[in-house]
């Protein structure tokens, strides 16, 4: 799985460079989470995507779609070569998730939408007495959207222990530090006071992520929150923790330098 994470990073950069657009830093911060979800946690595949019993994954931080596309392609939801059309005229592969792409559950992109959608889906699972679980990935920068907190209330009110929200806490957003833009800390205490069961993990530690998701539900009758501490631009030294890579696209030299670094990391796995 560690090799997959590196391969995913290489593809993320490849297709962002090809499109000359994309949210590079956030893709690199969340791709390890996606790796664990799709390779270890989610009960979903191209064969089962139409099944009402599949696990659902809704990406609230829709702007980091390139990471999701790369992982879905790896799982055979569509040919990877489709991503050569990313953001190109008439392509279905746009800069945010859309259901025109196989494997995408919900069209997202506007922030603060994933959690209410996930809550509704999790309520439906409870109503139907189904076993599937609903996962949604939020960025820490989107937490000031009030709809998140509305949905957080509903999730605990309906005891949705089949729901898991993951916060990709890379602590940076387009303007700068999330603490400077609108401080949402302490997230654990806030969500706990809203009735959630909270776990904090290193969002780049694949083993720790897998072990955490395996513990669901963290507490019976409570929605699950995983605060994943991540590094924006993770894996590319010159990008890490640099806000300019929020949606920066590497030039040719930068791209080659990044690939060299990733290949080096691959050789060490």
């Amino acid at each position: 799985m560690a090799r997959k994470s590196i391969a995913y990073r290489k593809n993320i950069l490849k297709y962002i460079v090809g499109a000359n657009a994309g949210h590079t830093g956030g893709c690199l911060s969340c791709v390890d989470i996606l790796n664990v979800l799709y390779n270890n946690v989610l009960n979903v595949s191209p064969a089962t995507f139409a099944s009402p019993d599949r696990d659902r994954y809704i990406q609230s931080k829709g702007h980091c779609v390139e990471a999701l596309f790369v992982v879905l392609a790896d799982h055979g939801f569509f040919p990877e070569s489709d991503l050569e059309t990313l953001c190109k005229y008439k392509s279905h592969y746009i800069g945010h998730p859309t259901r025109k792409v196989n494997g995408i559950e919900q069209n997202t992109g506007a922030l603060g939408h994933g959690l209410p959608l996930a809550v509704g889906t999790a309520i439906a699972a409870k109503m139907d007495k189904k076993e599937y679980r609903v996962f949604t990935l939020l960025g820490d920068g989107e937490l000031p959207e009030g709809s998140n907190w509305e949905a957080a209330l509903t999730a605990s009110h309906y005891k949705l222990d089949n729901l898991c929200a993951i916060i990709d806490k890379n602590s940076l957003q387009i303007t700068g530090s999330t603490a400077d833009v609108c401080n949402t800390d302490p997230l654990d205490k806030k969500f706990e006071s809203f009735g959630w069961a909270v776990m904090q993990v290193d969002g780049h530690d694949l083993k720790q992520l897998a072990e955490t998701f395996a513990k669901m539900p963290f507490e019976t009758g409570k929605p699950n929150l995983v605060i994943a501490h991540t590094i924006k631009g993770k894996g590319i030294s010159y990008m890490e923790n640099q806000v300019k890579w929020h949606h920066g696209v590497p030039n040719k030299e930068q791209y080659e330098e990044a690939i060299v670094e990733l290949d080096h990391a691959l050789a060490l796995v």
Binding site: G112, H113, P116, A118, G120, I123, M127, H157
Partner: protein, 322 residues
């Protein structure tokens, strides 16, 4: 006709009461129907629904964005989700959820805007929905329906449950008499001709169809003018075939709506007519672009001439220009 209408008043019920009753009938046989409310079950007349089907009502509390997002999640999992909230809040505060989570993601939520238009009367601008047609018309993949009477309401609710598409149903609080018991066809996107005449066409929707019909009576009795009255319950998709017929067979057209004159039924009709060569007199009646006068629903509508006499006067003036 006038006597017929008067006799209907005794049995008239508010359309949103009828909505609740029909939904309960449907839910008895369809366990996939789920009502989602934002502390709005009382005004939505859904308290009996909650008692009968406690497992099929999801209370969100006063949080309309979440109401629509949760309803979209429910719909994506196969539920026939009815998101019920006052039209003013549902279609403004939750507009982005309607645009993205319902329409764009194609989650077939049934959005139900209650106490619409100026139903809340003296509660004022915060509680009026005079923008909803305009806002929702500009959103792709949305059927917009404002039934005029109890019959249309019953049909619209049944149809909304049968089709698996995003739809917005708009209801008011006023008891609405049956318009024309003989005209029993109803489908989304097809206007309902409730009275026929060749002098002028009055195209209305929702609770304004009734005063339009009364105006037609007055035109006949006092002026000898024959008016066609159409309940254009579906604003989108608009029944352009009927519009074309009306434009060819009448001398003038008036539209009437409990909505801003900007962006609603009138402008939808005007857009089609102008682009298809219509050159006869045309008038949009609605709430002008100003803060509404204080009053009950009827007082407000009367103030802006959305009344039997107001509509008839405009018709006479319009025909006098020919």
């Amino acid at each position: 006709m006038g006597a017929t209408i008067e006799s209907e008043i005794a049995t008239a019920r508010p359309n949103q009461d009828v909505f609740s009753g029909v939904l309960q009938q449907l839910t008895a046989d369809d366990r996939q129907i789920v009502v989602v409310t934002s502390d709005s079950r009382g005004s939505g007349k859904l308290v009996p629904f909650g008692h009968k089907f406690p497992e099929q009502i999801v209370e969100i509390g006063i949080a309309e964005q979440n109401l629509v997002g949760v309803a979209a999640g429910l719909a994506s999992a196969g539920k026939k989700a009815y998101a019920v909230s006052p039209a003013c809040f549902l279609t403004a505060r939750a507009l982005e959820q309607i645009k993205n989570d319902v329409a764009y993601s194609d989650n077939p939520v049934r959005l139900v805007g209650i106490s619409a238009g100026v139903s809340y009367g003296p509660l004022g601008t915060t509680h009026h929905s005079l923008h909803d047609f305009a806002a929702l018309r500009a959103i792709n993949n949305m059927i917009i329906v404002a039934p005029a009477d109890n019959f249309e309401t019953e049909q619209a609710v049944k149809l909304s449950a049968a089709i698996n598409k995003p739809v917005y149903l708009r209801f008011g609080k006023k008891p609405m008499p049956l318009l024309n018991a003989d005209e029993t066809s109803f489908e989304f996107g097809k206007g309902r001709v409730v009275k026929k005449g060749n002098d002028i066409a009055i195209i209305a929707n929702g609770e304004t169809v009734y005063p339009a019909l009364l105006a037609a009576e007055k035109l006949r009795e006092e002026y000898g003018l024959q008016a066609t009255v159409v309940s254009m319950h579906t604003i989108k998709p608009l029944d352009v075939e009927l519009l074309k017929t009306l434009s060819e067979n009448t001398k003038a057209i008036i539209t009437v709506e409990e909505h801003s004159v900007n962006g609603g039924l009138g402008e939808a009709c005007a857009s089609y007519l102008l682009q298809h060569g219509y050159k006869k007199p045309f008038k949009i009646m609605g709430i002008p672009d100003e803060y509404t006068v204080t009053g009950s629903q009827v007082e407000i509508l009367n103030h802006y001439n959305i009344s039997q006499h107001g509509i008839a006067d405009v018709a006479v003036q319009l025909l006098a220009t020919i």
